[in-house]
């Protein structure tokens, strides 16, 4: 479903030095995968995840989502692709503070023009899986960190995207909340067959993932 072919990405530092952030990356991510991209800090995990998520451009190579090469898309097309095919979970929960939990979860579905009834049903369904169905009317500021991150996950998966990308989703959580969140995401992956790719160096995330892609200095050193 996601295919990376000889992807290269360079960063040009202020010092004039060029850093090879992604060095000839080729990968296949199949439907329903529960994978993690891991490695030491600065190895290129987030850069790779951003490239797959059409947030960042690469210097060469192809990134196919389905049959579409996203490196050829303009900004508006990339935005549409992100809206329709990809769900994002970030390290900071990044919920919309003025909307309730229920509205945050249904946000992307609303942007995509789903019917009110469908949104309400789907929000309830996802909230039950992530065990936040009793907090639907609450505002984000009334939730704990763990709960907020589960709302962020619910928002990412509610519209049933082809791919969910989670960048260090447990980084701001304590171990208990991290485990809880990962179990929920695993359940989602099993129940809904959602393809989830993490970028994380959290041992628990790595341990729970079915596939570990290890990066070092922009290379895939183990898959």
């Amino acid at each position: 479903m996601v295919q990376l072919k000889q992807v290269h990405k360079y960063f040009h530092k202020d010092t004039g030095k060029e850093v090879h952030a992604l060095d000839n990356i080729s990968l296949d991510i199949e439907d329903g995968e529960f994978s993690v991209i891991t490695g030491t800090s600065g190895c290129g995990k987030t850069t790779l995840l951003n490239a797959i998520g059409a947030l960042d451009r690469v210097d060469s190579g192809e990134i196919l989502i389905g049959t579409e090469d996203i490196t050829m898309l303009d900004e508006a097309q990339r935005s549409t692709l992100r809206l329709e095919k990809i769900g994002f979970v970030f390290q900071a929960y990044n919920l919309i503070p003025v909307l309730s939990v229920e509205e945050n979860i249904g946000f992307i579905m609303r942007l995509r023009g789903f019917d009110d009834k469908v949104i309400a049903q789907r929000v309830k369904e996802v909230a039950q899986i992530l065990e936040i169905d009793n907090r639907l009317k609450a505002m984000p500021t009334q939730l704990s960190g763990g709960q907020q991150q589960r709302v962020a996950v619910a928002r990412a998966v509610a519209a049933k995207p082809a791919l969910v990308l989670a960048d260090e989703p447990t980084a701001n959580l304590d171990s208990k909340n991290s485990e809880h969140l990962m179990k929920m995401m695993k359940s989602l992956n099993e129940i809904e067959k959602t393809t989830i790719v993490f970028a994380s160096h959290d041992d628990y995330v790595v341990e729970l993932s079915r596939r570990q892609i290890i990066l070092s200095d922009g290379h895939v050193v183990s898959d």
Binding site: L83, E84, I108, F114
Partner: protein, 409 residues
């Protein structure tokens, strides 16, 4: 798409009131400055309109008819003959709503101690009532056609130190050029705020003035006309000119060019105060919107990252500015409307400066005018100011790269 608009509007609304104090302060600032501006506009227009109205009512009407050369020589020799027949002809022009025939004789008014230049004005009180509600100009005493009674302009009475009951002598030349005088008892004082009247006028009955001037019944020196406000003044003048080719016809703008200049000057003043207030509104909304957007750059970046189209965010920012602008407008319209209504009914009392104001033909109490154009023009300007105010914030958003925000996590 409908659901998107609903969602965008909801986000805009909630974000405007996210910092309530800030939102309320901007709305208050717009509302208060707009109401002050409306008050100033209403007073300026009210003052000008009052001056024009009192001039039209007390003297020229919208159009005045004179005998040829009368205005140049101011001589009784040049007078209108057979006024009744002329008025009869004019009655067929439907734009003419009222007529008043007058005889004006310039001369000298004297008491035992003082004398001053004055103008004896013979009027038909019934015509004047319909023409300009003349009785409302009488601030002391009353009109009386019997005996040698007269009404005097307020300023002239003050100059001559006269009051109701005083006696004066008015002297001038009659039609034949003979020096003639008339002794008049002051029965009332007239204030029109038209300096040409207040400084000079001695009103007597038409018959008395005809007798004094040596004119025949049916002669007059001026026929003033009130024209339907909806009628075109120039076209009406042309119609009258065609009907009366041997008389001189003038519009009030030709008779009182200073009033037109004053009207233009007030428009400029109104334009300046309007521009200043709109600039304040523009800067106010722009400041708040810029700060609000900079505070929420992270949120916008995340929204962009998860696929919210840029056009949605642009629309959201525009709606936020419009909510602030229109909120201020609503408040300003209510507050300004109340201020204008109060000043239309009770006026702004400037009697402490009445002497100075009367010198310029202004009333000591200024009553505001209310025009729907004040509100519609302001609405359009506030919408424009709101739209202009978001140019900078939107430019900042356009440059926003979601990666910057995510890397800041």
């Amino acid at each position: 798409m409908y659901k998107n608009y609903k969602l965008i509007f909801k986000l805009a609304w909630l974000n405007v009131w996210r910092r309530k104090a800030r939102g309320v302060l901007v709305v208050l600032m717009i509302g208060v400055s707009m109401s002050v501006m409306l008050g100033i506009q209403g007073l300026y227009d009210g003052m000008t309109n009052h001056m024009i109205d009192s001039t039209l009512r007390s003297d020229s009407g919208e159009i005045s008819i004179y005998a040829p050369s009368h205005r140049l020589h101011q001589s009784l020799k040049y007078h209108i003959k057979d006024t009744t027949s002329i008025i009869q002809k004019l009655s067929h022009i439907e734009q003419i709503k009222a007529t008043a025939q007058r005889i004006k004789v310039t001369g000298l008014v004297s008491t035992a101690r003082k004398s001053s230049m004055a103008k004896l004005i013979g009027i038909d009180i019934a015509q004047e009532k319909k023409f300009g509600d003349f009785e409302k100009f009488i601030i002391d005493g009353k009109w009386n056609t019997q005996e040698n009674y007269a009404l005097i302009g307020k300023k002239l009475a003050k100059t001559m130190k006269l009051s109701v009951g005083s006696r004066v002598i008015f002297s001038s030349q009659n039609l034949e050029g003979d020096l003639t005088s008339i002794s008049l008892r002051i029965k009332g004082i007239v204030q029109t705020t038209n300096p040409a009247i207040d400084d000079m006028a001695l009103f007597v009955s038409l018959a008395k003035s005809q007798e004094f001037a040596g004119l025949q019944a049916g002669d007059s020196t001026q026929i003033a006309l009130r024209i339907d406000p909806k009628a075109n003044l120039v076209q009406t003048k042309e119609m009258i000119t065609t009907l009366l080719p041997n008389e001189d016809i003038y519009t009030w703008l030709e008779l009182y060019p200073a009033l037109e200049q004053m009207q233009e000057m007030m428009k400029v003043f109104n334009g300046i105060s309007f521009f200043i207030v709109m600039l304040v509104v523009l800067i106010g909304i722009m400041g708040v919107m810029l700060v609000s957007i900079l505070e929420r750059l992270r949120e916008f970046g995340i929204l962009l990252a998860i696929g919210q189209p840029y056009r949605n965010m642009r629309l959201q920012v525009i709606i936020e500015a419009l909510i602030l602008g229109l909120g201020g407008y609503l408040m300003g319209a209510i507050l300004g409307g109340a201020v204008l209504y109060y000043m239309k009914i009770y006026g702004l009392d400037l009697s402490a400066f009445s002497d100075g104001l009367e010198e310029f033909g202004m009333a000591s109490t200024i009553y505001a005018t209310i025009k729907s154009a004040y509100f519609s023009t302001t609405l359009i300007a506030i919408i424009l100011a709101s739209l202009l105010s978001v140019i900078l914030p939107i430019r900042r958003l356009k440059k926003l790269n979601p990666i910057e925000v995510i890397q800041g996590d």
